[in-house]
Point group: C2
Chain length 366, copies 2
């Protein structure tokens, strides 16, 4: 009612009829319609929308009224078409050849590239050696030097990431990360709550715990893997047990892939461990060791690597927590593209659900 009254007062009879026509017919409101209703030219409407001044107070009010009454939304297609620039996105991730964990990640990215092939974006993927922080910085700097519109990367190393972020900040390049969250500010992030993921692992193990159970958190390759990652998971894990079974001691062991079998065997036998929370995708190493020792045990670990899946199906691993690297990559890339192309805003920080995988539901994952 209010709406009508206001219009009757501010618009002529004919404009009112046109307004009713627009509201009744299923038709998208264009800048032209606004111009007609406000009885000005589209140029004036355009100046109002973009706040470029040179508009009389009277016209401004009429246009703003029409804009609001008709709930005008600019057509993103026409806007993007007119815009006519090709956005470049540079992506830097660990080399999947060096660590197969990143394979689904590359695959996810390639799918998105194909999906937006026909649009005005130029996406390129680059790799660094996950065991060499230097290669990360070097590649990163190279890419930044080319001034892409956005830079998406996995901040595996804290200090080195800071350097890249600093370089990026000077250049007005959109900063986006996934998998790990760097200390410094980024414009967009997709990841998982690692602390919570540790608690999930704890709960899964806790369900099987007996008074005599011996529990250990195993970190593999802490040296050149993401140390903070593992720490946060461990903290989450321990916090759960502190709440639910305060008396239960949790062992912690850091091992190297080098002599992993030997080191682990000794550790397991010495401490009589029969329940394991493995904080990395190399969970299969623990299962393999247990197998070689001909021992039974409960193992909860991370990620759907082929080796892990094999043990999951055989029963050597009870549960895997899925970090969905592929989904993380494709989601972050997609939001980046849509931000640039249609300036669609999505939440800065997106935390993906922590997915529990057992021998059965694994079949439902692609």
């Amino acid at each position: 009612m209010y709406v009508h009254t206001k219009l009757v007062l501010s618009l002529t009879q004919i404009d009112l009829l046109f307004w009713i026509y627009l509201s009744v017919m299923k038709k998208k409101i264009t800048i032209k319609d606004i111009a007609k209703v406000a009885n000005v030219s589209i140029g004036t409407v355009d100046r109002v929308i973009h706040k470029r001044g040179k508009v009389s107070e009277k016209a401004l009010q009429k246009v703003n009224a029409a804009l609001e009454e008709l709930n005008y939304k600019a057509n993103p297609l026409a806007r993007s078409l007119k815009n006519n620039v090709i956005y470049t996105i540079a992506i830097l991730i660990p080399d999947p050849e060096k660590d197969p964990y990143w394979l689904p990640c590359r695959k996810g990215i390639e799918e998105v590239i194909l999906e937006y092939e026909a649009f005005d974006v130029d996406i390129s993927v680059h790799f660094f050696d996950p065991s060499k922080p230097k290669s990360f910085v070097q590649k990163g700097m190279e890419l930044i030097a080319k001034n892409p519109n956005a830079f998406l990367f996995v901040p595996l190393f804290e200090r080195e990431s800071d350097r890249l972020l600093q370089a990026l900040s000077k250049k007005d390049i959109v900063k986006a990360t996934f998998n790990s969250l760097p200390r410094n500010h980024v414009d967009q992030h997709v990841g998982q709550d690692l602390y919570l993921s540790g608690r999930v692992g704890a709960k899964l193990i806790y369900d099987f715990v007996q008074p005599a159970s011996k529990i250990a958190v195993i970190h593999i390759d802490e040296a050149f893997n993401n140390a903070i990652h593992m720490q946060q998971k461990e903290e989450g894990f321990k916090s759960f047990f502190k709440e639910m079974a305060p008396g239960h001691h949790i062992h912690t062991k850091i091992v190297d892939t080098q002599h992993i079998q030997k080191t682990l065997s000794v550790f397991i036998r010495e401490n009589q461990i029969n329940m394991f929370f493995v904080t990395t995708s190399k969970t299969y190493e623990v299962a393999r060791t247990l197998e070689s020792l001909d021992m039974e045990g409960t193992i909860v670990g991370y990620d759907l690597l082929p080796e892990n899946l094999s043990y999951l199906k055989k029963g050597g691993i009870q549960f895997l927590i899925h970090q969905a690297p592929g989904l993380q990559a494709s989601l972050s890339l997609k939001s980046l593209v849509e931000k640039l192309l249609f300036d669609k805003e999505s939440s800065k920080k997106q935390l993906l659900p922590i997915e529990i995988i057992n021998s059965e539901n694994v079949e439902s994952y692609p």
Copy 2:
């Protein structure tokens, strides 16, 4: 190399230079570029692309060559802009007021509607009473009579769905479903593998099974809920136990919400059941009954209803299987919109992963 040779033979010197320029510069190939390289007008290129004939053999070959060499991809934005029709999508889902299971579904749809507000689509949501097949058919027929471009619905009732699908087939309306899969053909479907989901439930329970355990599958409200749904889950559940513990007898019980507490109490006491696989979102009813009987037990059920979550956190329910109705709805609607707007093709049948929820990872779900 081959590519070059072919071009040298088929194009003039100047065209070749232009081709090199196009390849080197980061620039999207337009119909105009093709016309220039093939040395014809854009009209001719257009006729070739749309196979509208009236093109000489020579021109056709030149254009096709250029199209392929330059890997032309039509700009979906310009195409959609030119197209200039408003697509209508009618959605029919069970009334969330009648069954709260459908609340996230409505929410998911509303989010997508907002997301595409500025685009040329007109999406409307309508509800039917999940306990009244007639209301489903009636509402459905009404919507179909309005000739939307696409019709997305939850085929809760088999026979009634067939009727709607028949009506749809006559009218060239895109048919899409989610949650349940109807017997007859649809153009698009998003759902879950229910048989597998039954197996997942089985595995979760199996991990806790003792020789003395008594296991039951509980169906609640089979009468007006989706009977096939429940059957498939039960089959999956039993198939797992047949494989892993052939001797173990699985009880089955169908109960009505009416006198559920009483019926269940009797059933549980008579059969000494202590492990439950509940095939519907009313899992909390079993937990409540067990609570009132002051008994302990293992319960695995479905869906993140507030009542279920409360028992999950208290420990009355061990695991919930998440059918993600909201995600199913938004995913199917999104693909529908993108299909109409940009004729982007996505796979006809999309099966979502079966997600296992416990008291911890539930926090990571929105």
